[in-house]
Amino acid sequence: MKRTITAAATLARGRTLRMAAACDGDTAQAACELRWLADAVLQRRVGSVFVRQRVGWPPARASEQAVREPHGRSLRRLRALAGELAACGSNGAAVEAFVERHLAQHELQRLDRWIWQRTDGHKPLQFVLGSQPFGGLEIRVRPPTLIPRWETEEWVERLAADIAAAHAAHGDSPRPLRILELCSGSGCISLLLAHTLQHLAPRIVAVDVAQAAVLLARANQRRLGIDTASGLDFVCGDITDDSLVPRLLGLSPPRASTGGKVDLHQNQTGFDVIVANPPYIPPHEYAALDPSVAQWEDRGALLAPDSRGICFFERIEQMAAALLAMRGSGARPHVHATLGPHPLCESGAIPRLVFEIGHAQDADVARQLGVVEWTRTKVHADLAGRNRCIAKYMS
């Protein structure tokens, strides 16, 4: 028995074992992370960022023609190497053998530095690699802006599918759908909605309080080729500030601090859908967070300072009363009475307010606050079975 244990330990020694310290001791997970890091090291061999962007990763066969021959030859080799690495799967010994055989000394040093950042520095893998896949988009991430979560990816995909299906069922609409995202962070939600709903050309405004987040989101927008003309704007603004609502409604001119650049899609008369993934971690849970979250991600994007962690949900719901386009003029005298909500909203096919919530907050957030009359509230669970998303309807 003793010998078998030794054999197992020998099989998974070295870098995988070191990496396992950052993966709760899961060696298969550690092997995958090691493979992804090694892949990123290989990726750096494609000289300039411009070439890198053009040829993609792993270098596509077709694009090799677009690159001059000296590049072309090494790209073919890189493609083969990347393929060999990908074939290692979650086999730690194979990944280790690969890096020992194929990486140069300085590349191994870079790999080891990254491993060290993961284990001793508690740096999230996404920050080491600089990106996170999100519903088919590669979202750039940079500390301290919140890393997109897979749970978010899931409900956003579902929401986009619902909207697309409703649109298909109802046919052409008189005006584009207007969507507002609050607390947008890296911009992943708005970017994915804009990307998936291209054919509807929705108008999307996304707001975040952190300047760094807004800049990152705009950088993502540029890189993904979702340009401003297609109707997506990232704006810096504080949802606890009362002047934000009229600003968003386009009734008062943008403040000088935004450079007057954003016109917030002129004639804005209220939004059809509001989505938000606001901070929802209460203080006592925040204190117990893993260092990879607490030390690396923005406290302002995570912490809701009340005991149940729902203060931002309540704030946003209050704002929603003023921000959502509604039938009739009673509720908001300053809005032109003839401009009601989008027909899709009126049919009740799509929700008006969508929140991502914490694992035990569904009852608190689903409760009627009395500010807006919701006709229906739906709770969606994520793939792990935790209640993750609340959608509120008004029809």
């Binding site: 896949p133 979560r149 929802y280 849970e285 690396w296």
Partner: protein, 417 residues
């Protein structure tokens, strides 16, 4: 393969056939002195040349016997005549295109046959010349020509046998540990590596789709995806049980261990293939997606990349691969069902045990890999485990072509080591 690419390919081989030998002969004298140093060498070369020539002529013979080529030629001539008719194009363009496609295929086949025959004739006349003059350098040169011709003929012949509906697609290779405990888990990881190496050598793309780690070492099961033209056609004969004998490094007593792994190869049925009469449709409502996730709060609380049983960072990729695997398995089940209905031919594989054993790999007390269906064997186990299994595949494909009846008779009494 579309008619266009096939034509391009044919032209390429035709060019190679026409100018290849010329170029090689021009380079000959420089290379020759190295090849033939003594009389022994030259007689050795002559005998290997004779062997190669025999193999090549046999292959050429079976290619010629495979079809009634004069009938093919007649059909091609008829089609050509039909296409000359201008009215056909105005009357029914679709039919004309079909005829054009068929003609391109026939012409491609004829061209290849002609090319092979020409190369063979040329090589044989050169052989006669070399024998007469006893020219050692020419013989050395001819050996390499003949080797190439024989390899081309063999791969063309085996490829021409792949006429199944889904032979041209990629495939999933699934490996499952059978009897043998830790040993068979280790055997799964060795086999998985063997197939990956094989696929890489053939220029296919390989991806590890799923791996379940064993409790002590190795893998309980593994699935790899091989994509490329005719990946399934080549590897379909690998389905079955693979037996492995060695002194286990996991046991302290140093006894000989036998372990089994069952391999199943399923083709990747593309979503929109015309040849699949029955499309496989998976309604989202019939699907129940279950994902293993760790316990805890999730959401904003955690930023770990969850990859339990998943091999890519992107959820979309993981999901797409899972769907492809599911579709392939459903398709295979349907094929098995059809095969069972047609006859009681043994189409699907059973448990990992003795019944469906196709190959033995022995590391102790001697080194030997032996295929129990074809009887083909080699002592170089290391090379085989490094992915050199193409010959076994070719042999199995050839035998499967020659008829299942005597093949299964041979299999039953061949487990004698």
């Amino acid at each position: 393969m579309t008619a266009l690419t096939r034509l391009v390919w044919v032209t390429a081989t035709a060019c190679r056939g026409a100018c290849g030998p010329v170029i090689r002969r021009a380079a000959g004298p420089a290379a020759a002195p190295r090849c033939a140093r003594s009389a022994d060498d030259s007689s050795l070369l002559a005998s290997s040349l004779a062997e190669l020539a025999q193999a090549a002529s046999k292959l050429l013979g079976s290619i010629q016997a495979q079809k009634d080529w004069s009938a093919v030629e007649k059909e091609a001539a008829e089609l050509r005549k039909k296409l000359e008719d201008e009215e056909l194009w105005t009357r029914d363009a679709q039919a004309a295109i079909e005829i054009q496609k068929r003609l391109a295929k026939l012409e491609g086949d004829l061209e290849k046959l002609k090319n092979f025959t020409e190369r063979w004739d040329e090589a044989r006349s050169m052989m006669d010349l070399a024998k007469e003059e006893n020219d050692a350098s020419l013989i050395a040169d001819l050996v390499s020509d003949m080797e190439e011709l024989e390899a081309d003929l063999r791969s063309y012949f085996v490829r021409s046998l792949m006429t199944g509906a889904d032979d041209q697609y990629g495939c999933f290779i699934e490996l499952r540990a059978g009897a043998g405990g830790v040993e068979s888990c280790d055997w799964v990881s060795m086999l998985s590596r063997m197939y990956q190496r094989w696929a890489q050598m053939q220029g296919f793309d390989v991806k590890v789709v799923e791996e379940v780690h064993g409790e002590v070492a190795g893998l309980k099961s593994a699935t790899i995806q091989v994509s490329g033209d005719y990946a399934y056609g080549w590897s379909k004969t690998e389905s079955g049980t693979h037996r492995f004998v060695r002194i286990s490094p996991f046991s302290s007593v140093g006894k000989r261990h036998t372990s089994f792994v069952s391999v199943q190869v399923v083709s990747v049925a593309p979503e929109s293939s015309i040849s699949n009469a029955k499309q496989i449709e998976i309604s989202p409502n019939d699907l129940k997606v279950e994902v293993m996730r760790s316990q805890g709060a999730g959401g904003q609380h955690v930023n770990k990349t969850e990859s339990a049983c998943q091999t890519e960072r992107s959820q979309i990729q993981n999901r797409a691969t899972a769907m492809q695997l599911l579709r392939a398995k459903l398709f295979q089940r349907e094929l098995d069902e059809q095969a069972r209905l047609k006859s009681d031919h043994y189409a699907s594989i059973g448990d990992a045990g003795w019944g469906s054993q196709i190959r033995s790999y022995v590391l102790h007390p001697y080194h030997m890999v032996k295929d129990s269906r074809t009887g083909r064997q080699t002592n170089n186990v290391d090379a085989v485990l490094d992915g050199e299994i193409q010959e076994f595949m070719e042999a199995a494909l050839l035998q499967a072509h020659q008829g299942g009846a005597n093949g299964s008779a041979q299999r039953s009494n061949d487990d004698d080591f």
